[in-house]
């Protein structure tokens, strides 16, 4: 293995079933879109290399299943994320209303220590649809995002590749900031002093 590591960013995508999480990710990583709907089972993992302000990063994107029956895996998936992307479908009011519960669920399950500063990015997907099918207005979405703590908000079309790059650029930046926030103070010196006079150690060997 090479030794100079790129920073790894764990990014998790949450949202109701069918809002286009997998399509967004496919568009972002492969520049492709498929009309066919295929439910994600558990989670999919795709890596994407980016350069952000001269810094090489690898995004490890966790595309989770929106379906209820996979929710028990939440704890496992959410743990250790650097950014959480909340996706809804602009033609589906319910998926928009559920954003807050996805966010709350994430904060609880992921055991986030500083919830006010954890980076979320909200994406309203499927803006390629005809105007009359759109049920959640930009204005309404922006208001809600502001009330949830000024979350960055993007409207995208995974199908027509609108705004996807831009949204994920902000995801990556905010994730990187989060990853680097608590720069670890390396402290070897406070390793436990070993008292060799005790006899607490087992014996074995020669």
């Amino acid at each position: 293995m090479s030794t100079r590591k790129k920073t790894i960013l764990k990014v998790i995508i949450l949202g109701d079933s069918g809002v286009g999480k997998t399509s967004l990710m496919q568009q972002f990583i492969n520049g492709k879109f498929s009309q066919q709907y295929k439910a994600t089972i558990g989670a999919d993992f795709l890596p994407k290399d980016l350069v952000i302000d001269d810094k090489q990063v690898t995004m490890q994107i966790w595309d989770t299943a929106g379906q209820e029956r996979f929710q028990s895996l939440g704890v496992a998936f959410y743990r250790g994320s650097d950014c959480c992307v909340l996706v809804y479908d602009v033609t589906n009011t319910k998926s928009f209303e559920n954003l807050q519960s996805w966010r709350d669920e994430f904060l609880i399950q992921a055991n986030i220590k500083d919830p006010d500063n954890f980076p979320f990015v909200v994406i309203g997907n499927k803006i390629d649809v005809e105007e009359n099918k759109r049920l959640v207005s930009s204005k309404k979405a922006q208001t809600v995002c502001a009330s949830l703590g000024n979350l960055p908000y993007f409207e995208t079309s995974a199908k027509e590749a609108v705004n996807v790059e831009q949204a994920f650029d902000v995801v990556a930046r905010n994730a990187l900031q989060q990853e680097e926030s608590l720069e670890f103070s390396d402290d070897y010196t406070d390793a436990v002093n070993i008292h060799v006079d005790g006899d607490a150690y087992g014996s074995c060997g020669c």
């Binding site: 293995m1 558990g42 939440g74 496992a76 250790g80 390396d186 060997g205």
Partner: protein, 601 residues
């Protein structure tokens, strides 16, 4: 031997060799299917309750009815040659070739982004964080690892956080073509490890290997350090704490485990330098005479991590796996090596002194001990002259590290470098200037002294021929009491090279795996004393190209004997008599072969 053919399972050559070019693979395959019955693993396993005076029948474990006759014929020969004291006369056998080849081609660690190559590997090791962030993989690029870290984490979590609310720990499963790849998981949250193997290894063996890798992380970081960084933040990238040398060491540990090139890990013990007890005693008294207050452990080590002796406090012993980790660090990385001006290859730096913090996980995973490490070359012209040693060997082109002993002094105090250095210097000085000790060390490590000025094979290793043990090409004898073993030469004074050592150990690993799994079936109710005295004999026959190798493992409560014979000659009587000779010889010489206690203060 043809009568002993119990086809329990087939090992196709594809599972022991690595990838070939596609063209030749097809050819190999067709020729293989012709000789399918030949390319097979033939084995049986017997449990022998120790007969009072050599005449009881065998108890058979896991043998089918139609194999009983074979077992009976083995029984006859066992009784005749292992458990009785009658000496049968030896027939003389022609000297067989000493090439040991199972067709096994181990692969080294890589960071290739070729996915096909990644999936064709027979062995993998992965380390990741509980959040699914990659830490290390033996094969594959970062990109491949990033994906697989997520998948592994999900599989592990699926059992840990069951949809129905239950919590389970996933240990292992078989998958892949013909269900012959074993996946093994070790969840040491916040660290998760996984290994895959298509080399016939058992759960126990893979568990031990992952445990070794995990302990290596503890060795360089210590348990509290790892726990603390993940407590602060689940998303921590542990690779930030691993330096170049650490990754190189992980690579080389994985290489060794994949090529079976670390006998101590397979056998479960430490190898010792064979030497006279009185000499070892004198070396121990030199060490004792020089010890000072802050010294915890002292070790003198011959090339390839063979122990010469240990210095230790009465209350503390050294744990085998701690020393295996230490030796992996010292001998497997370039941390302690230097490149001489006139040479391209690296060698252990004989004129430097090292001071290294190391956590010994079995001793105490919570903190560091400090090790002073120094290498001393015995092939020093002035000293050889002083002690009248044959100078001819200086002209021979030998591995420069094959004549260097290692002095390791361990202290719990990080500011005791100068104190340790002083001890090391005076121990080294005493060993160099004492004529008897220097000559004995030289003979055991570098070479014995011939009459006409030449240098013979070193005396610190055993050759099956000198026992004598006809038909035996190689053996390993482990004393369970000492958790130490000796690793013989190949018959006729040939030292196995790295590749051959791997082939030998693959065979021994198979024997060990079969022993570990079969022994469970061998437990009999209310017969604890039988279990204690029972003999377990396990035989594996391995055909490759025109060669047939037979590996044999005998275990009792006191020892394990692994041996290998080749050339297709398999006279049971002679072979079993050889076993008996080796066992007798090792028992008789055990004070030369093993360190009991060491220098205790």
């Amino acid at each position: 031997m043809d009568s002993i053919t119990i086809h329990e399972n087939y090992i196709h050559r594809g599972s022991v060799s690595s990838t070939e070019s596609t063209q030749s693979t097809d050819l190999e395959h067709s020729s293989l299917s012709h000789r399918k019955s030949q390319v097979s693993l033939i084995s049986n396993s017997l449990i022998l309750p120790r007969p009072p005076e050599s005449t009881t029948a065998l108890t058979l474990a896991s043998l089918q009815a139609d194999n009983v006759s074979i077992a009976a014929s083995l029984e006859a020969s066992m009784n005749a040659s292992i458990f009785s004291d009658e000496d049968t006369a030896f027939k003389s056998f022609p000297e067989t070739q000493t090439a040991i080849d199972l067709g096994f081609q181990p692969k080294k660690a890589d960071s290739s982004d070729d996915v096909d190559e990644f999936f064709s590997q027979q062995k993998h090791f992965f380390i990741l964080s509980a959040a699914g962030k990659p830490i290390y993989s033996m094969h594959g690029s970062d990109e491949i690892l990033t994906v697989h870290a997520g998948i592994i984490q999900t599989i592990v979590s699926f059992f840990e956080f069951n949809p129905d609310g239950k919590t389970e720990q996933l240990r292992s499963f078989m998958a892949g073509e013909k269900q012959q790849t074993r996946f093994f998981f070790l969840n040491k949250s916040p660290i998760i490890l996984m290994a895959t193997s298509s080399l016939g290894e058992s759960d126990i063996q893979l568990n031990q290997q992952l445990d070794f890798l995990y302990n290596f992380l503890l060795t360089i970081l210590s348990k509290p350090h790892i726990d603390r960084v993940f407590q602060k933040r689940d998303n921590f990238d542990l690779r930030k704490l691993l330096g170049k040398a650490d990754i190189a060491c992980l690579d080389s540990i994985c290489n060794d485990m994949s090529s079976f090139n670390n006998p101590g890990l397979v056998i479960g013990g430490l190898e010792c330098l064979k030497m006279r007890r009185s000499v070892r005693r004198r070396i121990e008294s030199v060490m004792l005479a020089n010890k000072s207050e802050n010294l915890l452990y002292g070790l003198l080590v011959a090339p390839n991590g063979r122990l010469i002796t240990v210095l230790r406090p009465r209350r503390h012993t050294l744990h085998t796996s701690d020393l295996q980790l230490l030796f992996s660090m010292i001998y497997n990385t370039n941390t302690f090596k230097t490149t001489p001006i006139d040479n391209n290859s690296q060698e252990l730096a004989a004129n430097e002194e090292f001071w290294v913090p190391i956590c010994f996980p079995k001793f105490n995973p919570n903190g560091f001990l400090y090790s002073f490490i120094q290498f001393v070359d015995l092939k020093e012209e002035k000293l050889m002259q002083l002690h009248d040693l044959n100078m001819g060997i200086l002209d021979e082109d030998l591995d420069p590290d094959s004549s260097k002993i290692t002095v390791i002094l361990v202290s719990a105090y990080k500011d005791s470098f100068f104190e340790m250095r002083k001890i090391a210097n005076s121990i080294v000085k005493s060993l160099k200037l004492n004529r008897t000790l220097f000559r004995e060390l030289f003979k055991a490590i570098v070479g014995t002294q011939g009459i006409n000025g030449d240098t013979g094979p070193s005396s610190g290793k055993v050759d099956p021929v000198e026992i004598p043990a006809p038909l035996v090409q190689h053996f390993v004898f482990k004393s369970k009491k000492h958790t130490q073993f000796i690793f013989s030469r190949l018959a006729h004074y040939k030292d196995p090279n790295e590749n051959m050592r791997g082939q030998l150990m693959l065979m021994y690993s198979h024997l060990h795996a079969r022993f570990a799994t079969s022994s469970k079936t061998a437990v009999q109710p209310n017969e604890s004393d039988i279990l204690k005295d029972s003999h377990f004999i396990n035989l594996v026959k391995w055909a490759y190209l025109n060669d047939t190798l037979v590996g044999l493992l005998i275990t009792t409560s006191n020892y394990e004997l692994y041996l290998i014979t080749n050339g297709g000659i398999m006279d049971e009587k002679v072979l079993l008599h050889s076993c008996k000779n080796i066992i007798k010889w090792c028992k008789k010489n055990q004070e030369r072969l093993f360190i009991s206690g060491g220098a205790i203060f």
